[in-house]
């Protein structure tokens, strides 16, 4: 027997109680990892196609507004602007609502000129431009659904119906593009804007979701952004221009301050955990007062007994953390791909694993601190009298 095995044995004195406490801790750490992963993703980890020479021009007030396609000429006329391209958030469902991936109507050549980091075969890009219902998809998406060039991909339009009222959109897959190795792959489906604007219901015709603007003077990005916004300031379609990175953050902010929300949820979860586990530890100590007296009688010092109680709390929390991490990585293994398709990128950073461990130690010290102090103060005579 060692001090560790003594601590471990004490911990499992009431097996059901300990297992339930362990599970609640593990679930809290699982939540921590998932929420931190989501927060990290929104904080910028998934918006990596950031070109320092590109701006995004979006509707000023909301991401659900749209802009007229006619703005293109005016934007391209601003000094320092090299080219502009546009895209829309199409929404839509492929077979099952769970099959989430981004779908944008784009002008093929313009889009691939704007994003030269997207790698596509020249023939396929040409086919994309020539085919009215043509579409191209990222390599990951094609592999995920087992698509092949030539396949017809049916998408149910949940935001946009066609002008005859039908919600079924059918696209012919004419090509596959990929990302450079260093870029995280996003599941993306691009189709021909010409088809979209001709077929879509009236309210969305000749409208775009946002503009991507390439600069030939990137050092003047701030000034150019202000100039673009001033062009449309007093129009029906005011804009807000930002770098791609900033736009991504603003987009996330419109969904809510994810970081703050996740922190608040985690705060509530861990506060509850501290109360519950702290109560369990205090109760467990009360039941064992005579035993602590026996340990002191046998020659264990006040400090040693106090340390035993504290290490039980720490061991419980670290065991909860270990179980929580195993569960978190299990969840990542099972649904990681789905999460990535929604968030672009989803992973657990070593920093978050470390932060969770730090949190486990802090919780252990908090819930074990008071019982440890009480155990230290306990006199042998009083403790033995408790029996």
């Amino acid at each position: 027997m060692t001090m560790f095995s003594l601590t471990w044995s004490n911990l499992f004195r009431k097996r059901t109680r300990t297992v339930l406490t362990l599970l609640s801790l593990a679930i809290a750490f699982l939540l921590f990892m998932l929420l931190r992963g989501v927060a990290d993703s929104f904080a910028g980890g998934n918006f990596n196609l950031v070109g320092v020479d590109r701006l995004i021009v979006a509707p000023k007030y909301s991401v659900v507004d749209s802009l007229p396609v006619g703005q293109e000429r005016q934007i391209e006329a601003v000094p320092g602007v090299d080219a502009a391209s546009h895209a829309n958030w199409f929404g839509g469902q492929y077979v099952d609502p769970k099959n989430f991936f981004a779908k944008y109507p784009v002008v093929p050549q313009e889009h691939f000129d704007m994003y030269p980091e997207l790698l596509i075969d020249a023939d396929q890009l040409d086919a994309f431009a020539r085919t009215r219902t043509g579409a191209v998809a990222s390599k990951g998406l094609v592999e995920k659904f087992g698509w092949q060039v030539g396949d017809i991909i049916p998408i149910k339009g949940d935001i946009y119906a066609q002008d005859d009222g039908t919600r079924l959109w059918e696209f012919e897959l004419v090509g596959v593009f990929s990302y450079p190795d260093r870029e995280p792959a996003q599941n993306l489906f691009l189709f021909n804007y010409q088809y979209f604007t001709e077929a879509v219901e009236d309210r969305a015709k000749d409208r775009v979701g946002w503009w991507s603007v390439r600069l030939n003077e990137p050092e003047r990005a701030g000034e150019i952004a202000r100039q673009i916004d001033s062009l449309f300031e007093n129009s029906q379609n005011p804009t807000r221009t930002a770098t791609e990175d900033e736009y991504s953050r603003q987009f996330a902010k419109q969904l809510g301050d994810i970081g703050l929300i996740t922190t608040m949820i985690m705060g509530a979860v861990f506060f509850t955990i501290i109360l519950l586990t702290g109560n369990t530890m205090t109760q467990a100590l009360r039941e064992r007062i005579p035993e602590l007296g026996v340990l002191k009688t046998l020659g264990f010092t006040d400090d040693q007994v106090s340390l035993l109680v504290l290490s039980e709390a720490l061991l419980l929390c670290i065991a909860g953390w270990t179980l929580g991490m195993l569960m978190a990585f299990g969840v990542l293994y099972v649904v990681g791909e789905t999460l990535e398709s929604i968030l672009g990128q989803f992973e657990y950073s070593a920093a978050n694993v470390g932060a969770a461990l730090g949190l486990a130690v802090v919780i252990g010290l908090v819930i074990g601190g008071v019982p440890a102090i009480n155990a230290r103060r306990l006199t042998i005579v009083d403790a033995l009298r408790e029996r």
Binding site: M1, T2, M3, L6, S9, N10, F12, R13, P290, E291, V294, L295, K296, T297, L298, G299, F300, T301, D302, D303, Q304, T379, I380, V381, L384, R387
Partner: protein
């Protein structure tokens, strides 16, 4: 025989609310090495308090307690803890074993405070269990043992660090007569064959018959000493 315990003018008072209760008054007691002493008296006479003072579990309000030539009053709590682990073995009425540990591990417990290796600790614990004839129950937890067996494990735990002094607080108080006699016989063997000095608190005259001498306490005072 040399003297192992000496109590000189020992007083113990407890505060009970605003009142002070005299538990022990003017106790003068000498116990020689190798003695088996029964400490008798009615409930509340101060027997357990005196035992606690001799075992260094509590401090006297006045007077002096010396064990093995060491004045316990002068020792800090930490030093007393260390001293207890080496010099005294305790046996309680309700055994006070740790329910989560096997008999072997309960016996091994005091040795965790020594520098012995894990193997040596286990070996010593097995020897102690052999002395109390309980080797075959080494892997059983207290809940799986009878009262007499639990008390024998407690005796093995008290013996394992080989202390000279065994302090027993009503060791047979929770046992039937037959089992109590077995335990008392075991204590006699430890006293006679292993040279342990034993101080046993009891209110049972039959149990006291196994001791070499008896002292009586009444209302916190030593009344008489009766040689066996």
């Amino acid at each position: 025989m040399t003297e192992i315990v000496r109590c000189t003018d020992v007083e113990k008072r407890f505060a009970k609310g605003k009142q002070t209760v005299d538990v022990l008054t003017g106790i003068n007691l000498s116990i020689r090495e190798g003695d088996f002493l029964a400490l008798m008296g009615p409930s509340g006479s101060g027997k357990t308090t005196l035992l606690n003072l001799i075992g260094g579990l509590d401090h006297p309000t006045d007077g002096r307690v010396e064990v093995g030539g060491q004045n316990l009053n002068d020792m800090s709590d930490k030093a007393l803890a260390k001293w207890r682990s080496v010099n005294v073995g305790f046996i309680f009425q309700f055994y006070n074993l740790l329910p989560v540990l096997t008999a072997l591990r309960n016996v091994e417990l005091p040795l965790l405070l020594t520098n012995l290796s894990r193997r040596q600790r286990q070996q010593n614990a097995r020897v102690a269990l052999e002395i109390v004839r309980l080797s075959d129950r080494a892997q059983h937890k207290p809940g799986e043992l009878s009262g007499g067996e639990q008390q024998r494990v407690a005796i093995a735990r008290a013996l394992v660090a080989d202390p000279k002094l065994l302090l027993c607080d009503e060791p047979t108080g929770d046992l039937d007569r037959g089992t109590a006699d077995e335990i008392l016989g075991l204590l006699e063997i430890l006293n006679r064959d292993h040279g342990k000095t034993i101080v046993m608190v009891t209110h049972d005259p039959k149990a006291a018959e196994h001791a070499g001498s008896t002292v009586h306490l009444d209302k916190g005072k030593l009344v008489e000493e009766v040689p066996a």
